[in-house]
């Protein structure tokens, strides 16, 4: 049997399944059918963006009581209106909600940007880019870069927030820019395309102030790629040939990394830091059974430091099993595990942010379980009937407390829970206390 046979068999499935899926696919939003609205949200400085949602007004007293009871012992902050600044271009409402229109999207490696765009023919044109602030969205000025790749011109516009760059409105011989910038330069994939065929491609350093284009690899670099969190390394996948390499930006060297499966996707690689990754390796066959292998690889030496005959569903590191004996989470690298004993339902990760994973089910009415992977603890969040239709839970990264606390440079963001019933909003500091 081949993958094509399997795909063909799926294609021949019963009409009623196609009908069922087509019906859902035709709906604009799934949220109305979902019990709770859950996602990680863009909240770089505190303002929570709710995609395409209207705000439902609900009775807040039961909600307040439930929040206080459920999170007793935690620091719970009610988000108040009066501290909201008035300088934003698109202002958040009283609950610090922003409903984005259909033509707006959150983008960027760290969800730092909100783009407003329109489609012109086959091309997307970004009209405005906003940064996320406490009080709403602030429009950012575009900069433009123009250059050429061996005589073929290219250009794009970009916005920088902190160390993150967002490129857009690409024209000509450029396919995209990488997310990290030191403020002076960015790295980009350049390519020359004829029809639908890429003739050649390379990684280039683009001087934002000098306008210089410096090729850093040869012209055979036609591949998928992913940059490390702080822009030290770029992993390159030559999928047709079935291998990965690592490009060390400082050294300008590109070396093969044997430990990554040549067909692994970028979602199957997790950066532990700039120099170490957990990634799928080549699987092994034991007693006619295929065993997936995860490798811990040091990108500086390109060596596999450790191998594990399993894989983690969360950050390639944590595996989970849910059922009648509770939700068990295990770190495949250390073997350490912990169990959320109360979680006896079939639950799955719904959101992951930093050390936090929110488990729940979109199919069944189950409680939610917020797990702290560092503390190896969990917290049950049981939303009672009656509140369930309105309550939304978000895992957010905040810098400083609501409302409007100044953040000293170097402060790392902290993950908190943001809860709202559409009228009132609470931020719960889940970093301390009350973990089971």
């Amino acid at each position: 049997m081949t993958k094509k046979d399997l795909s063909d068999a799926i294609h021949e499935c019963d009409d009623k399944w196609i009908e069922e899926a087509a019906e859902q696919a035709g709906k604009k939003h799934l949220r109305s059918g979902m019990r709770l609205g859950i996602r990680t949200a863009a909240a770089a400085a505190g303002c929570v963006i709710v995609l395409g949602l209207g705000v439902t007004v609900a009775a807040s007293e039961p909600f307040r009581n439930w929040v206080m009871k459920t999170f007793a012992g935690h620091e719970v902050t009610k988000v108040e209106m009066e501290d909201i600044l008035e300088e934003a271009d698109i202002k958040a409402d009283g609950g610090r909600h922003l409903s984005l229109s259909e033509d707006m999207e959150i983008r960027g490696e760290k969800e730092s940007f909100v783009c407003k765009y329109h489609i012109d023919g086959d091309e997307e044109v970004v009209d405005k880019v906003y940064s996320v602030r406490e009080d709403g969205l602030k429009e950012q000025k575009f900069s433009e870069f123009k250059g050429d790749y061996d005589g073929v011109p290219f250009s794009f516009e970009y916005v920088i927030i902190n160390r993150e760059v967002l490129g857009f409105n690409y024209k000509g011989a450029v396919s995209g820019v990488y997310h990290y910038t030191d403020g002076e330069s960015v790295y980009a994939d350049l390519w020359e395309v004829e029809g639908d065929t890429i003739k050649k491609g390379c990684i280039a350093k683009l001087g934002l102030k000098t306008g210089l284009v410096e090729k850093r690899t040869d012209d055979d670099t036609i591949c998928n790629s992913v940059m490390s969190p702080n822009g030290k390394m770029i992993l390159l996948n030559y999928r047709a040939e079935g291998y990965w390499t690592v490009f060390d930006i400082a050294a300008g060297t590109e070396k093969k990394v044997e430990g990554i499966n040549g067909y692994a996707r970028t979602s199957e690689i997790s950066f532990v830091d700039d120099y170490r990754i957990l990634a799928f390796g080549d699987s092994i066959i034991k007693k006619h059974k295929e065993i997936l292998v995860t490798n811990l690889i040091d990108l500086r030496t390109q060596k596999t430091v450790e191998s594990y005959n399993e894989y983690g569903d969360i950050q390639m590191r944590w595996t989970y099993r849910s059922g009648k004996n509770g939700l068990e989470l295990r770190d495949i690298t250390s073997g350490e595990a912990f169990t959320a004993g109360q979680a006896q339902e079939d639950v799955h990760p719904l959101a992951v942010r930093g050390s936090y994973v929110l488990f729940g089910s979109m199919e069944e009415k189950t409680p939610f379980y917020l797990c702290n992977l560092t503390l190896k603890k969990y917290m049950k969040i049981d939303v009672p009937e009656g509140l369930g239709e309105n309550v939304q839970i978000y895992l957010v990264d905040t810098q400083g407390k609501f409302p409007g606390e100044n953040v000293s440079p170097g402060n790392s963001p902290r993950s908190e829970i943001f809860l709202t019933d559409g009228k009132d909003c609470y931020l719960v500091d889940v970093n301390v206390k009350c973990w089971q």
């Binding site: 399997l6 795909s7 068999a9 009409d15 019906e23 199919e363």
Partner: protein, 184 residues
């Protein structure tokens, strides 16, 4: 307009049938076709062929459910187009979804088997029947409708990784199911 009304237009040979079909199912068909072909112009061509095929086949056919029939027609035509020109094209969702399905196939040559087409189809149908509704829909939206992870993540309000993880679990279940059924 309801499906039976559209069907009645076809049966009455009214050209409004095509307009109403396009109005109601145009976007869905376009999404399926683009997922496979990754090319807007090719998919527009396929959509026109789809309307023509519907016009030519209804009657004598009187498909019920109509939507599933339309989906099959546009998918079949897009697949034909894909096979015709895929060597020149950029990677589309069809190819990506095929690669993901490879997870469900044992890579060991020792256990490679020739499986009867019909037997496999029936097994897949049973597997789909055993899945909870939401997981079945997600699975089919990826592997039948070829919706991208990005689109699914947007629709479900979860991250692409979360979608990928859920699909990977279902693929794992499918693999176990196929082994249990003696098809691997």
């Amino acid at each position: 307009m309801e499906d039976d009304e559209i069907l009645a237009l076809y049966l009455a040979r009214s050209e409004d049938a095509i307009r109403e079909t396009e109005c109601k199912y145009g976007k869905l068909c376009q999404k399926i076709s683009i997922g496979i072909l990754n090319d807007r112009r090719d998919s527009e061509e396929c959509l026109n062929d789809t309307w023509m095929a519907l016009w030519n086949t209804i009657p004598p056919k009187q498909p019920n459910p109509l939507r599933a029939y339309i989906c099959r027609v546009v998918k079949n035509l897009s697949m034909k187009k894909y096979e015709y020109n895929h060597a020149k094209k950029r990677r589309g969702e069809y190819e990506a979804s095929l690669d993901e399905l490879a997870d469900c196939i044992s890579s060991s040559k020792d256990v490679e088997k020739t499986v009867e087409k019909k037997e496999l189809e029936e097994a897949v149908n049973r597997f789909l029947g055993e899945l909870p509704k939401e997981r079945r829909i997600l699975f089919l939206r990826r592997y039948w409708f070829m919706h991208s992870l990005k689109d699914l993540a947007k629709d479900y309000h979860i991250s692409e990784k979360a979608v990928s993880m859920r699909l990977s679990r279902t693929r794992e279940n499918l693999k176990d199911f196929l082994i249990r059924e003696g098809l691997q």
